[in-house]
Symmetry: D2
Subunit: 415 residues, 4 copies
Amino acid sequence: MATRARASAEQEPAARFEAVRRLSRDIAAPLSDADATIQPMPDASPAKWHLAHTTWFFETFVLRDHVDWYRPFDERYAYLFNSYYEGEGERQDRPKRGMLSRPSLAELLDYRRHVDEALLRALPQLPEQAVELLELGLNHEQQHQELMLMDMLAAFAENPLLPAVWQTPGSTAAPLPEPVQWIENRSGIHRIGHEGPGFAFDCEGPGHEVLLRPHALADRLVTNGEWLSFIEDGGYTQPALWLSDGWARVREQEVEAPLYWIRSDAGWSRFGLDGLKPVNAAEPVCHISYYEADAFARWAGARLPTEAEWEAAASESDPAGGNQLDRAGPVRPTGSGEMFGDVWQWTMSAFLPHPGFEPAQGTVGEYNGKFMCGQMVLKGASCATPRGHSRASYRNFFYPHQRWQFAGLRLARDL
Amino acid sequence: MATRARASAEQEPAARFEAVRRLSRDIAAPLSDADATIQPMPDASPAKWHLAHTTWFFETFVLRDHVDWYRPFDERYAYLFNSYYEGEGERQDRPKRGMLSRPSLAELLDYRRHVDEALLRALPQLPEQAVELLELGLNHEQQHQELMLMDMLAAFAENPLLPAVWQTPGSTAAPLPEPVQWIENRSGIHRIGHEGPGFAFDCEGPGHEVLLRPHALADRLVTNGEWLSFIEDGGYTQPALWLSDGWARVREQEVEAPLYWIRSDAGWSRFGLDGLKPVNAAEPVCHISYYEADAFARWAGARLPTEAEWEAAASESDPAGGNQLDRAGPVRPTGSGEMFGDVWQWTMSAFLPHPGFEPAQGTVGEYNGKFMCGQMVLKGASCATPRGHSRASYRNFFYPHQRWQFAGLRLARDL
Amino acid sequence: MATRARASAEQEPAARFEAVRRLSRDIAAPLSDADATIQPMPDASPAKWHLAHTTWFFETFVLRDHVDWYRPFDERYAYLFNSYYEGEGERQDRPKRGMLSRPSLAELLDYRRHVDEALLRALPQLPEQAVELLELGLNHEQQHQELMLMDMLAAFAENPLLPAVWQTPGSTAAPLPEPVQWIENRSGIHRIGHEGPGFAFDCEGPGHEVLLRPHALADRLVTNGEWLSFIEDGGYTQPALWLSDGWARVREQEVEAPLYWIRSDAGWSRFGLDGLKPVNAAEPVCHISYYEADAFARWAGARLPTEAEWEAAASESDPAGGNQLDRAGPVRPTGSGEMFGDVWQWTMSAFLPHPGFEPAQGTVGEYNGKFMCGQMVLKGASCATPRGHSRASYRNFFYPHQRWQFAGLRLARDL
Amino acid sequence: MATRARASAEQEPAARFEAVRRLSRDIAAPLSDADATIQPMPDASPAKWHLAHTTWFFETFVLRDHVDWYRPFDERYAYLFNSYYEGEGERQDRPKRGMLSRPSLAELLDYRRHVDEALLRALPQLPEQAVELLELGLNHEQQHQELMLMDMLAAFAENPLLPAVWQTPGSTAAPLPEPVQWIENRSGIHRIGHEGPGFAFDCEGPGHEVLLRPHALADRLVTNGEWLSFIEDGGYTQPALWLSDGWARVREQEVEAPLYWIRSDAGWSRFGLDGLKPVNAAEPVCHISYYEADAFARWAGARLPTEAEWEAAASESDPAGGNQLDRAGPVRPTGSGEMFGDVWQWTMSAFLPHPGFEPAQGTVGEYNGKFMCGQMVLKGASCATPRGHSRASYRNFFYPHQRWQFAGLRLARDL
């Protein structure tokens, strides 16, 4: 019996590995070699780079470190596709990732095959530590799947032709959601942070108690329609609504709407993976910075939730529910009314270590800890997050000015 | 009796007002008109600007708004000396404050006299709200007294002649402090934040409960001697010790020591308000960024305290004790062993609103709230903080890269 | 007879048109879609962009303006592929040309076919003015052929793999050239500038007299071997050899050798269209800025020639001689000893209008005149210049800091 | 008799030295220590710096190098007040000259006295070479007198109070000048450049022949009234009028008028050393870049003169005539109708070496030669040029974008 369970456990990782790896290829499927090469800004990476970097992660931390017989596909790739692991040596400057027209997309798909085959072959004999790194690698790849969708959108948005990544039929107009209901959340001492079995990133733990004060959360996300009211009410022109750093950005970059919104005589459109479409008032607002989220909340007489409030509220929601990524395609927020999905939700909490946080050992310990400064936590999941990847303790993080991620907001208020 | 108490209450504010205002003048006393005019970097302001801006604060929010008979000294000063109050209209660009060779230092001292006389004359009849603004103004001026000392040091440090602001005799060598003792601090639910009578800035409140986990704090500040060990051990050359943003700065700006440290064949010197002197190993380290404090703590196998931990520990210390500013002069951290004084202490807490925070009404509500993003909290007080200004709930804040403030660190660790 | 001559004249332009257009395609032949898309720096354009822009030139100024029946391939291309003609409306920002992953290389080759077919069909009936624009377009395309080679080299040089655009067998070592002979050039009044029949760019005319003083020109170009002596003699470390702006660049960018030179333990290599090869001491030095050329000349006790001196000396040389571009391939300077070819030769003359210069009428009048400020003239032709394109009156021009063009130098001196 | 003549020759330099040195002090007389300390932009230096740098020039190249008994006033000044002489070692970064609040203005006036006394004492025994350097130093100081006036204007223009450097009564309206008359200038071979006795900067020589083609020059400078017509005709909005680099600047910096012009409801005013005054249509336009001068000329159907044309035309004019600087005060262009004075006149000639140019020997050889790239020649003299300083061969030079100098234009055209 033990043997059988063991076999099944071996089979499962293989299937899971293949499924995750396949999704990355599927996301890149509509891309030409050129599409997959360009880099629209230093924050965003070429799709080819994502495909190769996720592969390098498995090759380095699983195969190179734990599989004697493995021979690297190309020694030079370590320099090209290391992201930021100082422990792994020098690497291509981030703003120059878009210069890698070679290796070609086809060569990098070969690279993926080479590593996939080796990994599947090595899998049954992998030591425990390598299995954990494999799981880390899969979660890492899922993060890059969302990044690929973000970066592909950013790249296509730089093209004056505004090509759709995926063509879609026109969507039927969704009904406007009901006015927000305020849901009283728990208060007092509550336990958050990851603990127990199951994969989580190092930064999600350890589990720990937090003290919550009386408050309520909105039962749904802020919509485009509500955002249009904010715009029409002069939201982008009143300094009193804004954090000082946010107001400086608004003025310097002449921000007047979410990223990818374009104004024409016919009103506001938004560019997405499905091309240029009219802004749909019923859908959740997306591609806003922390500064914008914060200003909107102030304008609305509310505030953003704290990470702990959000996590406490989500502890009984299904993290695999809502509008999340099931297969490659032109995802967009549509508004499911659930706690997870559609857009990542800005919180008013800075991305700092949980009490008692210890980074993982070794080079992978650079994974999250070294980014714990200057960024804000987002919770939930977005339409571009692979379903099953997120959970209540998940801590996404971005700088307050960043807007190219699928980010929106849910309001909170004190009781 | 009531009358007499009233009279005394009237007298007291006047004396306090005169004392605070005098200290600003005393700090500026060693400066020539030119010294008081230059601006060494956008973050720092000329001494003249501080002298005038603090005066504008009283003139605007107390005299203009609450005293009928008051006539402004010069209508044009509002443009020159408003700092960042959007509600008060356009103003001189911050990086151009160093272009104000006119008005002269003498004219601005006249401006101060004009406002001081009017304020003292108006004081007995000021309405309650104006008295509160007066108190705010005095605390505001105390903040600028410390800023003046910081900015004067920054300005003189740009001069290749490295002139001392104040000449001092050589100090006798202090004995090295004992090894750190770890003091177990309270855990469980504790109340922090300002509440009750007495002045506090809006961001210090409201009082609220926090949950502390078992931890200990060092009984003293980190010293220059310990910092030299960090340097000698390659602290500035090992990326694994650093936050990612911090490491980028270290590389880009070739940081290899605290600000104002200069290496020569004879070893390390540091520039201060008393000129260039050898680094004293016994004194608390000063002029370090959050990145440096965080890297040092990691190197030392410890961490920075949270704001709540620090505040809980300080709740029974005397906030007016230790090495703080009593009179104008070449202050420097010397190491008193107390909780307050010498240097502001970086915490690992971001400067975010306390739960339930509401900014003050009106333009002065821009005071703190709009800076609640991207900065870290520092607690305590420094040798440049006017004694009596700080308290346990006090929240100083700077961006993680900033170093020109009198900032150092005290270590903490989990139990 | 007249009829026959006419027919022949009609046939000739067609053959010439086809040959020029074919060469561009041949140059791009080794490029993938991705290779042809990336932009290594704002000064350089993607190969795809060159292929399309040259086509847009014919489409716009010949077909659109002179051929009734012509229908544009895609109306949106005008925005994408206009270079800098203000008279033709808004256009893609130059530093963003590398964002055009779409249209694909294949689509742009279709675009070329579409325009080529229309142009060949329209050719027999083209009015005189259009025939002139056709000739201008062909010369324009030849310029872009050289730019393509320059920009492809710049793009591949950004790739850490340093791929060769074209693989070549190792070349046999060339013998070192003889020491320079000084050739006395004519002095007194001489006529330069284009006049008479034959195509020339507007900036080459009008013909005019210049006064030459006694001087001599070197009989050959400066070699890599001589440049190595300059380096070894501290050429890049002595400010007295450099123009002030040049010295600032050398320090800021840590320049220590020509562009594309790489130092290793085995000595200097240089990256070229044929990949990374050892520096060949016998070959002409290439990829140097005006600042470097000027510093070298000062070091050598000589100077650069003036444009007029060079042009006078070249008036009896064959402009189609020497090492110029005959077919697509890994061209490099080899040193022919002729006046034209190998590398463009920096002169000490600024690119300013010849006396009596009038720009061409219409939008094409923006061709050269508006660049007559801040740039220096280069004369001759390079190994990347299509043979037959240049002539003695030809005026190439670059900013003094630019180095990615095939530029070297020939020394001059006063007699 | 010889003795007496000798004595007189000795006396004359002393008087001249004293007069030149006095004028610098007089120019600085209205400045406070603070006024003399601030630096409005990297191109401009503080007045204190000019006062000290000119003194350092005499101290270094005359006293230190040629007078045994001389002891420097302060060894540290060499670092502070060297401008750009690489041969004289390291120096204060140019953009940081505004950080020198110490030494004070009073100390630097002491420095001047110290050097002046030493120089006057050494003068009778100075060797020939030192006398030449003294003459160079006096001409150098005159250049800095004009720079001081330019830089003082730039500094006061940064002050929102727009203080006048010198108060003046309102000037009476000048009558508009007559329409331009075109004066035919000589053509054929003409000799320009400095030769023969009398002081000239190294870059003015050697004398040499140039070939002039038939052309005419306007008999007067372009006026503010004409410039207003250019503005009203959309001069700043039509790209076809502009050099490419100039148009990029106009757009990026939103240029719409000469520097220091301010538009209000009451029309255009201009800020000058006499404060803010209405633009006077009769006066020569001033504070324009080369780009603006060139665009205006194109708009007017004319061109700028070449350096040789201008110099040939000026060869019989009195270089000491017109509106030039006689004593310290609020100089401004008023329009004298002479060849010299009012404003420096942009030519269409780049600042390049005259044929046969050799820089002076030694460190002073860095004086002009190393700036011979990227700048354009201006001829004549301005209202801020000390009378007697300029001559027909004088070559002033600025980058094409610079505007803070007293520069205007005179039109030319081909015949």
